[in-house]
Each structure stands twice: as C-alpha cells, then as structure tokens.
C-alpha cells in the first residue's frame, strides 16, 4: 500500500477497499518500524487517526478530494497549530505553533491526514540534513549516505514509504537535491507561486515551498492544493492556478530542450553525466530537440547566493532571542547575557556561521561590496536564464554533481558542501520553477534529472516529467527493504 500513487489510493478509499484509518495506521506502523532512518521529528499519531476518521466520514458523504484521507507529512518548517514546530533547531524545541501555515491550512481543507513533522537541516541551512538538532537522516538507499538537504526528512520519508508524499522547501536546492538523492520527484515552484505564510523564513527572497512525491502526477496533485495567491503573503502572485493534472498527458513532441554547457563541466561526476545524457536521449526519442545554451554567469551563483541568503537570514533569525518564545538560557544575568547565551546555546554551528556571514555582508562599509554586488550578480544570472529560455522551452541538467555522499563526509568542510549546490542555487536566484525526478542509479544510489522552466511553467515541467515517467520506471524503483 505504501508504494501506491495518490490516485490509486484515492480509488481504494472511495471503493471501500481500505479506510483512511487503516491506511494511516499502516503508515504509522511503518514509521515506527523504520524509525532508525530518523525521518520524523514529531509523529502526530493521535491527530493523524482523528483526521483519518474525519476523512473517512467525508469520503462516505461523497465530499472527498483526491487528497482526502491520504497520509502525508509536513516538513518541520511549516507552522502547524497545536503541534511542535522546530525548524530542526534546539531554539524552537519547545515551540508549539499557535497557527497553521497557509500550505498546512490548504492540505487540511483538502482533507489529507498529517502523519507528523519531518526532519530537516536546522532552519533549512544545509545540503545533507546533518545540521539538524534532531540528528542526521539516513538515506533509505544507503544508510550511511546523506539523504540530501535541507528537506532530507521529506525525501527519505517518501522514498521509504513513510508518507505518501511530503512538503518541502527550496531556498538553494533543498527540494531538488534530496529528491535526487532519494530517488523521488520534487518540484520547486516559481517564487511567489506558493504562499510563504507560516513557513519559517530562511532567506525570504529565495524560499519557496513545493511538493515531494513518488511521481510527477502525485506532485501535480499536491501542487494543485499548495499553489495560489495568499493575501497574507505580499510576495505571492495573484495569477490563476492551472489544472496541473489535466495537462500531464499533453504530447511533448517538438519540445526544445536546452543543455547549458556550464552544467556539464569538470565538477560533474562522469557516471551522473551519463545518467543525464541517457535521460536526454529518452526525450529525444519522445520527439524533443536538443540545443546547447550558455549560462556565462553561473559560476557566480554560489558566492552571490551565500551573500544574499546569509544577509536575509541574519535578520530573519533575529526574532529568536529568548524573549517571547523558544529556547531561553538558564538564569540570564542581564539582557545581553540573555541574548548571547539563548542564541549561542540555541543555534547550531552552520546557522551561526550564516548569521555571522550575513551580518558581516550588511555591515557599514561592506554593504556595497557584498550585498549590492550580489544583487547585481543575481540580475545577471536571471538575464542568462531569460536569454536561454527565449531560445528553448526548458533547460535540463544534473541536480547535483554526484549521487548522495556519505554521512560525515563533507560536514567538516562547508565550502565543499556549498559547492554541491552548484546546479540548483542559480534557479532560486532567478526565481524560476525547476524539478528533479529519478533518471538512473549510480553506485546503488539514485540520481535525478533537473528540468528548469520559465516563470509559472510548472504545468509544463510536470507534463514533461510525466511523459518521461510513462516510458521509464526509475521513479517506481524502491530502495532495498522498502519495496
């Protein structure tokens, strides 16, 4: 049951083959059975069973959506009313959110069942899920490998069948890279497509929530619920939401695919390159035309990203000060002591590193050299994409330079860790939608293909991914022991 698609499960629920309570219980059992993967920070068992019961009633009344009664899980970055919301940090270990994020509210309205809150890098800062206060998540394909990050708990849970699908967020690759490393389908929507209200901010101009699922079709069903204007988020965009599922079957003959030569340079593992080439070949067979494009400013993406994201996070994380909620140090002597120890003890190393970088970049005398320059680079990168996307329909390439690396392998070397996001970060700077879907296996670990589209072309990306998934079965493969 844990490997079925949303539509199959919805059919089963409607036909009475199984109830949502049974389905939910089955997932709760699996979560317990595979707790060593450390996917969940909080399992909301009682709440899930209550929601499942309500979903069964709703299905009985004939008032169900495709997601009614489907057990899903939320990345622990989304505020969930009455449920602990930690963002992977000690500083929020005691924080019970008093309100629901818009995304959570929308899933509740659709009638889905929340199994719990998923592990993640602390404040979504990390590419390996190792910065979580709650410990590293293990990759179900290789328990000694990282699942990717920051939505590592989400990716691992979906891959291991510990949730039908899950939410993720992507600031520099945090949906796509773990999706690639865990062999699932993940989509980072256009900036502004999904409301950020109630999604704890890391870098506000880059953060975007999106679906992580077993297939493009499941991702389309999720995005249908998540997308749309929210008056509580000024940066959400007031554009109609297309019917994502309806467009999945459109033929893609004549599709123009661009391959940026900068995506296939020296840093790319040759086996991964071979997987991408094979996937592109599959598209050629489906009638696509391939063209080389260029992103001359791509190499500037990582430094620009770390200036902008760090600058924004240095302000976003100021509210965690031990005054109103969250962790407060014991027996503070005075205000300064309260601040320095609450934050010093509450934040992990990577978070502190980025706050310091951002504070430095915004300081008097450095602002122009760092922040302003990074914004200029950001524009150049956007222009590169704009130009390329005027020549082709979509851009394809790798998600990450290699398959999942080992736990502990890069955590001591932040620069090397940052470089592993080279193919994903530029897309966030440009605000474009992009997805990752399984396209092969290297050394027993899955590798994803990245598809980048024009603004608000999520329907096109899902269509293109779905067509590939009709003629291949990479997305149907499960890690050993989780079949």
């Amino acid at each position: 049951m844990h490997n079925k698609s949303i539509t199959d499960l919805a059919k089963g629920l409607r036909s009475g083959e199984f109830s949502s309570v049974e389905l939910t219980q089955a997932f709760l059992n699996r979560i317990k059975q595979h707790s060593s993967l450390n996917c969940y920070i909080t399992v909301t068992e009682d709440l899930a069973l209550q929601e499942a019961k309500a979903a069964d009633d709703r299905i009985a009344k004939g008032d169900a959506t495709l997601l009614t009664g489907i057990p899903i899980a939320q990345k622990d970055i989304f505020c969930t009313q009455g449920v602990k919301t930690t963002c992977g940090s000690k500083i929020l270990d005691n924080f019970i959110a008093p309100y629901n994020a818009t995304v959570v509210e929308k899933f509740n309205q659709a009638g889905s069942v929340m199994l719990g809150k998923l592990n993640m890098d602390e404040f979504a800062m990390g590419s390996s899920n190792e910065t979580s206060y709650y410990g590293a998540v293990r990759n179900p394909w290789d328990h000694n490998a990282i699942p990717g990050g920051s939505s590592g708990g989400s990716a691992a849970a979906v891959a291991a069948g510990l949730a039908v699908c899950a939410t993720g967020t992507d600031t520099g690759g945090s949906i796509r890279q773990p999706a690639s490393h865990c062999g699932i389908t993940g989509l980072k929507p256009t900036y502004g497509r999904v409301s950020r209200y109630g999604m704890i901010a890391y870098a506000s101009s880059l953060d975007q929530g999106g679906p992580m699922a077993r297939s493009a079709e499941d991702a389309a069903i999720m995005l249908q619920v998540m997308a749309g204007f929210d008056e509580r988020d000024s940066t959400s965009v007031d554009l109609p939401v297309p019917d994502y599922r309806a467009g999945l079957s459109n033929p893609i003959e004549g599709l123009k695919i661009g391959l940026p030569k900068e995506f296939f340079g020296a840093g790319l593992n040759s086996d991964v390159a071979a997987v991408i080439e094979a996937a592109v070949n599959e598209y050629r067979k489906l009638g696509a035309h391939i063209k080389e494009v260029s992103m001359p400013n791509l190499k500037l993406a990582i430094p620009a990203y770390y200036v902008i994201a760090s600058a924004e996070c240095s302000a976003n994380l100021s509210r965690f000060d031990g005054v109103r909620y969250g962790y407060r140090c014991a027996n503070p002597e005075d205000l300064t002591d309260l601040y320095t120890r609450s934050r010093g003890e509450g934040f992990g190393k990577e978070v502190k590193r980025r706050i310091l970088m951002g504070t430095y970049a915004l300081s008097a005398g450095y602002y122009d050299a760092y922040y302003i320059k990074a914004q200029k680079v950001r524009r150049l990168i956007s222009d590169d994409f704009k130009k390329a996307l005027s020549e082709v329909d979509v851009i394809m390439g790798p998600v990450a330079p290699s398959a999942a690396f080992g736990i502990g392998e890069k955590i001591g070397n932040p620069i090397e860790m940052y470089l592993s996001d080279i193919y994903t970060i530029a897309i966030n700077l440009a605000g474009l939608p992009a997805m990752s879907m399984p396209a092969g296996v290297v050394g027993g670990k899955p590798v994803g293909l990245q598809i980048i589209g024009n603004y608000f072309a999520e329907h096109r990306l899902l269509n293109i991914a779905h067509q590939y998934q009709q003629v291949t079965d990479w997305h149907q493969q499960s890690p050993k022991g989780f079949e």
Binding site: F78, C79, T85, C87, L92, F95, A97, P98, Y99, A101, R196, Y197, G198, M199, I200, A201, A203, S204, S205, E231, R232, D233, S234, T235, A311, E312, S314, A315, L317, S318, R319, F320, D321, V323, R324, Y325, L335, Y339, T359, L362, S363, A364, Y367, Y371
Partner: protein, 476 residues
C-alpha cells in the same frame, strides 16, 4: 563671540489608521497589555507583513500638503537591532527611498515669516513598550504599540532658535491634525520629537558638531531642552572643550540634557530592503485620488477667515487652531445668521471658557453648534440681550434644552412693548426726583442709573435700545 544655533527636528507622528501598518490588529490606545498584538506583531516564526494601504494614503496626503515630491517608487527596509520590545529584531522602516521627498513648511515667529525645509518623511512601524515598574526588578513587555504606523518627518537644519523650532513643531502639529492623519496627542506619544542641535560662530558656513536630543514630548520641553543644549554647547566650546556627536536625553525635572550614548556606541543598523514587502508604487491616479480629499489647509483657512468674516488676527488664530473648532464656528455663523464677529466672540469667549473649565475638546462640547446657533439667532433678532444670552448659555451647558425652550420656560424674552417700558420709566422718574434734577443739570453719568433701575425693574428683559431711547425722550 556671537554664536548661532542650528536646529533640525525629527518628528514621529503616529498615523491615525484603525489597524496596524503590517497587520490587522487594532491601534486603539490604552488596551490591556498584549491584547492588541496578533501573530504578526509578536514576530512569531513564519509570519509576514502586509502593508496597510491607509497608511500609504496618509503619507501621500502629507507629502502633497507640504508640496513635497511624493515618490513614485519607495522601498521598505529592515533596520536591525536587538531590543526586547522590538519583536522581530528589526524594525521595518524606509531608508534609501522614502515615500515623501523634499518639501517645506512656512512658520511665523514674532511676525517674521520663514520657510523651513522638510528633507523627507518615511513610513515605519513603531516598537512595543518596555515596562520597568511593578515587575520586581524584571522588565515587562507590552507589544500593543508594536506595528503602529509612524510617519517620521525629518526637517532640514533650517531653524536658528528654540523659538523657531517650537513654531515649526506647532505648525506641523496643526497640519497633521488638519489632515486627519494623526490625533496629535503628545501625552499618549502620538507626536514625538527628536532635536538635532549644534552651534557655530555667527557667519560661519560649516555646521558645528551636533547632539541629538531624543524623545521630547511637549512643546515646552522642546523649547527648554534646545535652549539648555545651546547654552551647554556654547559654554563647552568657550571653556576650551569640544562638542561630541552623541545622543542625549532631556530630563524635564532637572531641566538639563545628559549623554545617553556616543557615536562610537551607536548601532550599525545594517539596513537592507525587506524581501517580504514589494516596493510601494504611487501612481498619478492614486495621487490625484488622495489630492481630491485634501482639506483646506491652515494658512488658507486663516486668510479666508480674515477676508470672509472680517476677523482680527487673534480670533482667527484661535478659531483656526483646529479643524473641528473652525468647522464649529462656520456652522454657527451659517445656522444663526448672526454677525460673524459676534459668533467669533461667543466661540472664542464663553464657549471656549466653558470647555476649558470642563477640560473638554470642541468635539465633545455639550452645546452643539446647532444649539449655540439657536441662541445667537435670538440675540440677532432682539429676542434676548447679550447679557441674558449668557444666562441662557449656562442653562444650555448644564442641560439639553434649546435656547428657545429655556427663554420660553424662564420667561426671558426681551420686552419690546413700549407701553410696558414707558410705564416703568414714568414710575422711576417719579420716584427719583433728585437724580432727574442732577441729570437735567448736565450730569450725564446719572443716565446709567436710570437704565440700571429700569432693567432691574424689568429683570433685564427690556430691550436696551428701546429703554435708552425712551429714557432720553422722557428726561429731556
């Protein structure tokens, strides 16, 4: 050496919006602590600000009123600093691109007119309050005020004396209340002033080093604080010292300023554009829409009151000191058909005195303009005399009856029946032969005695004009 002071003011006006600048919580003053702070005001994880359009409208209205350039494109920025009553650890403000650019305000000091430049005005959110009393050595935080919209109005360093500074501040205070964008309540902190003060030898072009005096909350204190600071700086320099750039606090009890923090201790606020908010775009259509709601401004109203009603400077100044008072006066003139000067005397005289005694604003006056007009109409049609009117007014102040009802009930109607008056006059002439003799022998002053006697006999209700005329005839 002769010294010259250079003064610039930064004035924080709380905008009179119903809800906060970035949330839907109420801005009403005086609620129980932390009952008017929603998730956004508390700075909970994940919340986002959404700009209140009304605050933008008010800022634009102000910009148009001071003939400033209203920015077609302005940007909110984060001003970063830690303080317990600043929930997010940053204040959302405007920095490089404020909504209102260079404008001006004309002041008048001792009959000398002067134009003071307004550098800029920008929108920002207020912080909460730290409460240091009643918490046994701890500090309480009240976030009701957090997120209240402020318009910070920054002047050019154009003022040269404390008097000019106060004149500017008063002018601004009058203007924002005229525009209806601020209630001007200084006790509640709706209108707060920081003063930048420096001195230089008269004739020198370059500015001296300035000190900023923070949070002065009355006109009187602004004047005293600036005067103290000017003296302090001159004394310091003349005794061989040097003014340091710093922030100072005015202590009203001791009437002096003292150092709060030096420039070196000043925060680096690390301003950068707030990525949660889009740039504010004000197009011509919006500006025109706002302009259409522009009320008559104080200077124009003063001129009109002089021209239209023939009022003197003093009455004009009082009547136009607030829009509700000016409106009240004009309503009384219109409804009473009474001479404007008499209406002005009543509004600035008896009515204002009664309001002052009761500590009421014109908007809370127990005697509405309709009722006062009803009274003045009876003066103008000779139903009652001015003297009786004062008596009627006191009755009106205490109750709800109209002037006509009181006049009727108390029988205060002026007697214009010449027969009745004549009879009384005859009686009084007959009873006071001595005084008649005195009058006839040229002692004009005695005339007043007869008027008084007649009025007394008639309980003040006789028409004074009629009494005078008839007395003169009879005493010939």
């Amino acid at each position: 050496m002769e010294w010259e002071a250079v003064i610039g003011l930064e004035i924080h006006t709380q905008l009179a919006t119903k809800s906060k600048i970035f949330s839907g919580a109420s801005t009403a003053y005086g609620a129980e602590p932390n009952t008017q702070a929603c998730a956004v005001d508390l700075g909970l994880p994940g919340v986002l600000p959404v700009l209140n359009e009304e605050a933008v409208r008010m800022a634009v209205l102000f910009g148009l009123a001071i003939e400033a350039e209203v920015a077609p494109y302005s940007v909110f920025a984060r001003k970063n600093y830690f303080y317990p009553d600043l929930p997010k650890g940053y204040q959302i403000s405007q920095f490089e691109l404020p909504i209102v650019g260079l404008g001006h305000l004309d002041i008048d000091v001792d009959g000398v007119k002067k134009r003071v430049g307004v550098t800029r005005a920008h929108l920002e959110e207020d912080a909460g309050k730290s409460l240091h009393e009643d918490f046994h050595g701890l500090t309480g935080i009240d976030l009701n005020r957090a997120g209240t919209p402020l318009l910070e109005i920054v002047s050019e360093p154009d003022m040269r004396s404390a008097k000019e500074a106060v004149a500017y501040m008063r002018k601004l205070h009058e203007l924002v209340r005229y525009l209806g964008i601020c209630d001007g309540n200084m006790q509640e902190g709706s209108f707060r002033c920081d003063a930048n003060v420096s001195v230089r030898p008269k004739g020198q072009q370059a500015f001296g080093t300035r000190a900023e005096i923070k949070n002065i909350n009355s006109f009187r204190f602004v004047e005293k604080a600036i005067n103290y600071e000017i003296e302090r700086q001159i004394d310091l320099i003349e005794s061989g010292g040097e003014v340091v750039q710093e922030t100072r606090l005015y202590d009203a009890d001791k009437d002096q300023t003292r150092s709060m923090r030096s420039k070196e201790e000043a925060n680096d606020y690390r301003y950068f554009p707030d990525p949660d908010l889009l740039p504010v775009v004000v197009d011509e259509a919006f500006k025109a829409q706002v302009k259409a709601t522009m009320p008559e401004l104080p200077d124009a109203k003063k001129q009109r009151f002089k021209d239209q009603y023939g009022l003197d400077d003093e009455s004009t100044a009082i009547l136009t000191s607030s829009r509700p008072l000016a409106d009240y006066f004009e309503a009384v003139v219109k409804e009473s058909a009474c001479e404007a000067r008499i209406c002005a005397n009543w509004v600035t005289g008896d009515l204002s005195a009664a309001l002052n005694r009761s500590g009421l604003e014109i908007t809370d006056s127990p005697v509405s303009h309709e009722r006062l007009a009803g009274l003045l109409a009876r003066i103008s049609d000779n139903t009652i005399s001015g003297k009786i009117a004062k008596q009627v007014f006191e009755e009106m102040w205490q109750g709800t009856a109209s002037a006509d009802e009181i006049i009727e009930a108390k029988g205060l109607k002026q007697i214009t029946d010449t027969g009745a008056i004549e009879a009384i006059i005859d009686k009084i002439i007959a009873n006071n032969p001595e005084q008649v003799e005195q009058y006839r022998s040229g002692k004009d002053k005695v005339f007043g005695f007869f008027v008084g006697q007649v009025m007394k006999e008639m309980q003040g209700k006789a028409n004074p004009g009629e009494v005078n005329k008839m007395l003169k005839d009879k005493l010939k």
